[in-house]
Symmetry: C2
Amino acid sequence: MIKVVIAEDQTLLRDALATLLGLESDIEIVGLAANGREAHDAIRRQDPDLVLTDIEMPDMTGLELADLLRREQSRTRVVIVTTFDRPGYLRRAMEAGVSGFILKDGPSADLAGAVRRVMAGERVVAPELAARAWDEADPLSDAERRLLRLAEAGLDSPAMAEATGLARGTVRNYLHSAIGKLGAANRIEAARRARQKGWL
Amino acid sequence: MIKVVIAEDQTLLRDALATLLGLESDIEIVGLAANGREAHDAIRRQDPDLVLTDIEMPDMTGLELADLLRREQSRTRVVIVTTFDRPGYLRRAMEAGVSGFILKDGPSADLAGAVRRVMAGERVVAPELAARAWDEADPLSDAERRLLRLAEAGLDSPAMAEATGLARGTVRNYLHSAIGKLGAANRIEAARRARQKGWL
DNA sequence: TGCCGCAGGTGACAGCTGTCATGCGCGAAG
DNA sequence: CTTCGCGCATGACAGCTGTCACCTGCGGCA
């Protein structure tokens, strides 16, 4: 029996996945979580073989969860299931030592098959992503990433300087550098491009 | 037997919903579609009692589908299932004559129940939305809406003037007005707020 | 006819943005 | 020890942004 915890913030999908996998005779759903923290608690309590997790969730993302489990040397394997076809996510997931990375857009039929293959020691990656995994490394520094996130939220430079403790000029320098690296015309386009690549 | 077509662009969720509803003895899934156009074709062919549809899909949204079916005086009832808790969407859905509006974040247990209630002639709306449906009308003019969409994409004022055929000053006037209406500090924040309300 | 409202436009101005040159301190590499 | 790169900063400047006052033409409408 493969014991599985599911972490996904959309109730409907979470329950649907649980039903779907619960129909398999060799899989048992031992926990449901609506965010990373709940998932971590459930994993502590249930010691499952595998956790199926979304990335974008409130209160700890799936990537942070994977990283935490790796640091704790948990025996629970991690399979990421995400909407977002962003190379940066796959890269970070791999660095966090996940065992699988599949897309919500992908074929659903062999979700159970993917779970079984992972338990057999295989590493399962959505084929449409595998090829593009390493084709572009994240060029952003931490400071640039942070400022792009603030720009996305609508702050202007003085507000960002206030929020980060940097000088206004430095804020502009970082943004300038990020704009250059991303080939954008301004901070808004830069933020959009970075977000789309999974670098924010 | 209630005949249902499901329209949802995420394969995983689409198949999971189909499995979930297919388990009910009085519901039969007669079609699956990955976008609004496919859904429309499936409805033509199958003449189902009800279509369960997402809003944000490529190649015709769920709202456009609902509107089309209303104009065609189709007997198929429409139930919207969406991630997005945006009052503007509910308003537009109601104007398109949908029979139900439920959230992916809502309780999944009674999805089948909602389907049955709709078939019994009830109008089913996610309770967390019902109260807020009419509390704020879209204050934006078409010109403002259009410019906010361009702002969101990272264009600056001269580029927007170019794209719309308006004078630069006029572009700034419209944005100024939109910023005022939305209580934002700049065009970026204005675009974010409008998007969040479902007005873009 | 005269007045209003409205879409679209102009001009001015303070402040923000993107770009560039330049500087300083500090830790790593030679 | 010196040099280099890097993080952080400054100053200057053209161009964009947000705000405001005001103008024009046009379709209603009393």
